[in-house]
Symmetry: C2
Subunit: 412 residues, 2 copies
């Protein structure tokens, strides 16, 4: 089965999905178990680029309670020239104060020593429980062990070791044909809870063997993040720990120049890969059955964004989505809440192509057909506001019993 | 058992809880079944003041998708001189367009004719499913029937007929001793879902037989609403239909002058009653087990309000509350999300008197004692931000399986 299994994302022409398990040229990765997770599953991951000229870009949660690894990496690593990323799952190393900063630095130092890379060229990320000190000795020992196991087909091990509550792994490898030859692009991601406005406990690692300027890597990542991870909501929560790192090794010898046709082709591949990963995060959504897409058109940009957020984050819309319930009254409730003081509002709502509301009032429709349509795995809501020009979209997971079960018991 | 069963609200001195089932002097009420609710339960309610000089005040949802009865009442009724309220449950008459406005007007006309009151002195409210036309003939017939059954001990019937998903009724009657004699104060409320920032599908009706200027009724209601219904969150959703009406008949002959000691006494009684009703709404919260109170101190007013909202609306905090889980990492996650760009943030967290976090980092504490403390019915979270001066609080319900069960299946 293709990784691209949503009707909302198409793999662009000139791209091929790869299944040989190999990372792009220049990269090696590993994942091992340090005992942070009580289950004994892998929880320490290391990814290294063997090309010293590698370029990179990174983005982080904007939370006021950023985790120690986020603070350390942001402040003390060379974000445009990262050679390695070291990650642990099972413990977020957040709200851990001075000790947390020392532990994050110890992880970075262990990775640097084991892989022979200067610490300032390493990013650190942690995900899991907040407010508990890391078992740092076990982790640094595991980092050394991971460094000995680095393999160019280690993406799967790496992806497994960064997971927490994810129900399934999220990774893809693509080949992209450019004018100077083909390049590889791979993504490993983790995230199924606390996903929101600004992509939340979400760890995403992107590698390519194309040769790209650091400024251009940053631009590509910024644009594609805005269209993918910034547009998903699982539960409206912003994490302490979100980290996304993209690295370009240049090992393929194929360069991508700014504003070139190659850049457009590569950008489309990156966009498709990150949007599909984002959709998988929403679909995973800690027990989600269905994923919704809300498209809002009309009005001004601020208005459409507010409405899209309100619908995507509404627990009432989400529970209806879970229940396979065509209760569009909850959609108009969310729209109205997002635009206070505008009543009576001339809003239109179309669900799965069936118009249910026009000019703020119900429209006679085939309720049977609608009930059938909302039982599928992907449900589309189109909302029209008065005026024209602005447009946005958001992907969101439902809210069901599995979310409660996972989150009422997932504890320190 | 007293209506005032929370450690967070005390009945003021000079107030007595009444259990004779009688409304304040001048008021009569009734509740009947019109068949709007498929269960056959009562769903049409009428409350009438027999004193033509009655004063009143009203407040409504600010949603851009206000229901027809909200639009009609706001625009076409004398909000300072309401004599009657007519309500139906089971159908919100929202997103019903022109037909909805005609139906709301028909309800008002039926109440006016049956009770002999000019229509502009009547408020209309509806709660229930959105986007479905009212069975208006059945409702107007039921209104006539209700008018024949009006009784001065009809508060309980009235309260039953305004309920939807409420697990228990919410009403209280008090006697307040003032310098000129005693007055009565009674409240009937409905609300257990879509409760949020600005009090949501919440219907609240308040009566007193004190004599109070309309401007003063408005002021008392504004102040007490701000401290009660504006401070509860069930699921962060703003309804199309929220309505709160307060009426003062003057039938006791006891007047309350602006800025008098009597006004302070009466205001304290009203404050206690509305805060307790608000707490009951949060506790009901569509299947809630526990209710939380978050107090935020420090920083500026905007900051404390944002943090209080973020904590109270966080599905992660709410599921932990439901699970009786002391996962305070989710509290700091919500705080950080509310104040982006401020890391590292000097925040303190105390749960049920136990300090778990200071200066943004965990504090050694008795985990056993904390685990025990969060199993109770009311859990208090105290959050300290850097700086001083501002303070706010919010009450919120948990998020559990019952919420999912109710909302995944409650349909059109």
């Amino acid at each position: 089965m293709s990784f691209f299994n949503s009707r909302w994302v198409q793999l662009p022409d000139g791209c091929t999905e790869l299944s040989d398990g190999r990372l792009p040229g220049g990269f090696r990765a590993a994942g091992v178990a340090a005992g942070v997770k009580q289950s004994g599953e892998r929880d320490v991951a290391l990814l290294v680029c063997d090309e010293p000229q590698v370029t990179s870009a990174a983005r982080f949660s904007r939370s006021g309670a950023q985790s120690a690894p986020v603070l350390l990496t942001r402040q003390q690593s060379q974000l445009g020239a990262l050679r390695a990323v070291v990650v642990n799952s099972g413990n977020a190393n957040a709200a851990t104060g001075e000790r947390g900063m020392l532990d994050a630095a110890a992880m970075r130092a262990a990775a640097g020593e084991a892989a022979g890379i200067p610490v300032e060229r390493i990013a650190v990320a942690s995900t899991g429980v907040i407010g508990v000190p890391l078992p740092i000795d076990a982790i640094t020992t595991a980092i050394s062990s991971a460094a000995r196991r680095l393999r160019d087909d280690g993406a799967e091990d790496f992806a497994a070791a960064i997971r927490t509550t994810d129900a399934f792994p999220k990774q893809v490898a693509l080949q992209v044909e450019l004018s100077g030859g083909s390049v590889r692009l791979s993504v490993q991601a983790k995230g199924a809870g606390m996903i929101s406005p600004n992509f939340a406990t979400l760890l995403v690692f992107v590698q390519t063997d194309a040769r790209i300027d650091a400024a251009e890597v940053d631009l590509l990542l910024a644009v594609c993040t805005k269209r993918s991870f910034d547009r998903i909501s699982v539960d409206g929560q912003l994490s302490t720990s979100d980290t996304i790192v993209m690295q370009a090794s240049g090992a393929s010898g194929v360069g991508i120049e700014p504003e070139s046709a190659d850049e457009r082709l590569f950008g489309e591949a990156l966009d498709a890969a990150l949007r599909q990963v984002a959709l998988l995060v929403a679909r995973d959504g800690e027990g989600a059955r269905r994923v919704g897409r809300v498209i809002v058109r009309g009005g001004d940009q601020r208005g459409v964004e507010r409405v899209a957020h309100a619908v995507a984050d509404s627990p009432l819309v989400k529970t209806a989505l879970y229940g396979g319930d065509a209760n569009w009254g909850r959609v108009i409730q969310a729209v109205g809440a997002a635009l206070p003081g505008t009543a009576p509002l001339d809003v239109g709502i179309v669900i799965e192509g069936i118009e249910v509301c026009a000019h703020g009032a119900y429209v006679e429709h085939d309720a049977q057909a609608l009930a059938q349509a909302v039982m599928g795995p992907e449900i589309e809501y189109e909302i029209t506001l008065p005026g024209e020009g602005a447009e946005t979209e958001r992907y969101f997971s439902d809210l069901g019993h599995e979310y409660i079960t996972i989150n009422a018991d997932y504890t320190t």
